[in-house]
Symmetry: C4
């Protein structure tokens, strides 16, 4: 791992850290005046529920992206000029996530808000796929101890690739579905976080962890 790859990672971490944290500022509760009633309290708390749910989903998706970014760059040995730009491209779409998240939190039943969320998430999943294809095509990955690593890494890579493609498909479907029923669109949004968040067996998880930890 070169110093350059470390700077790309640390810059990405800064940007991802800001995106994941700052969305919480959509959760705002006003100052109540002295004669407030219980009704006033709940009247102000209830509209925060969709914001909270939107925050949780976006936090999980960005968390999934960070973990995958971590794994991907951990295996990178060479950083070329184009990778810097492709990474910035991904960060651009990631930095847009707070916008549809807030829009959906404010208007949970607005088809355009759903569609916007689907579009931004689709672009994120595609940006990830483009980086992965560039790394594989230009052979930027780490090659030491190739035999030891290959089986575990290949397994992970294939599984992540399949999950990424399913995620892309789900987000594509969500876009027209926003106009049919927002609930179908919501279900589509859950596909990617569910796939990564729900473990696929403790054993394989630790196969993944080993090369990360023992290097």
């Amino acid at each position: 791992m070169t110093i350059s790859s470390k700077r790309v990672e640390s810059f990405s971490d800064n940007v991802i850290g800001i995106i994941i944290t700052i969305m919480v500022f959509q959760l705002r509760f006003p100052r109540l005046n002295a004669q407030f009633t219980q009704h006033d309290v709940w009247h102000n708390l209830i509209p925060l529920i969709p914001h909270f749910i939107a925050y949780v989903v976006s936090f999980v998706v960005i968390g999934v992206m960070w973990v995958n970014h971590h794994h991907m760059f951990h295996l990178i040995q060479k950083v070329d000029e184009k990778l810097l730009w492709l990474n910035l491209h991904m960060l651009f779409w990631m930095s847009l996530i707070p916008f549809p998240t807030a829009m959906l939190g404010d208007n949970p039943f607005l088809p355009q808000a759903c569609m916007m969320y689907g579009v931004v998430m689709l672009m994120n999943a595609l940006a990830f796929r483009i980086i992965r294809m560039h790394i594989i095509k230009h052979e930027l990955m780490y090659k030491e101890n190739e035999e030891q690593r290959n089986s575990a890494v290949d397994e992970v890579n294939n599984r992540v690739k399949v999950k990424n493609l399913i995620g892309i498909a789900a987000y594509i479907v969500s876009i027209p579905m926003s106009y049919v029923s927002v609930y179908i669109a919501y279900a589509c949004f859950m596909v990617l976080p569910a796939m990564f968040f729900i473990p696929d067996g403790v054993k394989t998880r630790f196969d993944v962890a080993k090369p990360v930890a023992e290097k």
Copy 2:
């Protein structure tokens, strides 16, 4: 300490740094018009006092968390997939802290604001405990010079564990107490920061510092 563990630490530092800093933007003083009176000034400054107190308490709690996170990850040698997720889980609850802090700053006598603060802080303390249990269970800690370190580290770990459990208890108590008296809830919120902030003797503090500094 592997490169991976460093990236987890640096990402956590980004997120914690943003959370701890950005709460200060709740402190706002309006532009006064040209004919302002001394009364106008104080009328706008006084409501900032609960905000300031809430900011100080949350700053100290997040500071305590950062110092403990620092100590905990300093001892970690292996990072597995699950630890990444548990750390993100902790950062999720930590990222919510600005919300009840602002709500309480705006409405210092609202039981629901107190309760919300207690719930978020309880989840933070629990998230910390879950990470600690995972590290111990899966033996992810650093094992070099075990004999040298063990006595100091064990002492620290035990003390932190006890403080963490007392903090969890205090936050659990604070939740129903919010509806009895907000002052009792406030007292509960002070337990955890007080335990970590007030030194337990200069001598033991330097026992803690040694393994941190000489590695």
Copy 3:
């Protein structure tokens, strides 16, 4: 590369990461009431278009700056006191970018907004040039394997220097042009991002990448 140079880079990355991310919070869509019409939706979405365009342009310019900062500091071996200050000077002008970006997003046809954008961008390009001149004058660059590196590095340096000077000229022109026609000013703003963003041949890009990756 000394530890000090790393801290300058990491601090710059923090600041650049915040600037590039936080501009997205200018994109805000209000909460619509229950009786909203399609007209209300589009009435609120359309004014976001100039904000989105301004965001994209500023993101690309800051991205270009980050990539160049990365290349420049990658070659630096010695950090002197003055370089710290010149870097802070550049970060100052960079931190102002969100202001004219938001002003232009809100008022896309206001000459003063255009002029302000041109002035801030000009100061950024000049601040970059000042750092580059300081590094060359005081010979702070890395000198190992000089013969191997020189040809590739010199080529890159010359090309970046020429692009930087063209960018400065374009921003100088944009300032009076804002009062003639905002469209001419917009065209000037596109010069610098276009020069860096559009690749100048895959072969030369990889010449650039090699010293970055193999060090």
Copy 4:
């Protein structure tokens, strides 16, 4: 320099980077309606001037603090528990800087705003002094090549100590002076940035730079 000291530095850099950047969001220009006049434009731009000046002054002061923090921690070999807390204490007062900066930008002639700025800055200068005293008292500094370094380092330390004490005195004077004349208070606020920003001779600056660069 231990890994722990690096994490303290990088956490501090995150927090300082956020503080120094985010103040710019006080500079806001409203969306003008289609029938705006030149008067409207200037009516909205002129109140931004005190905000801009306050931003520049606070940026310079925080920049001075970052450079000094950089120098101070560069010389630190051992990090003890208390240093973590003293550093958080300094970051607390630093994180408050945006509040009086915005208050003063909105109300440049309000004595209470001036006083608040003076108090927060005084606490920052004192927090810095407390860290420096702790480091010297507990001998946490780097001791390798002591003879080579001592003369340069001692000279710098003494000069920084004197500047810090003069700054503390200036901020103490500014507090009562805010009620006599805000202009006298403004002059006091300029003392510390002026002392650090104006170079005290190129030769001594490079004596400072050498231990930073050649380590």
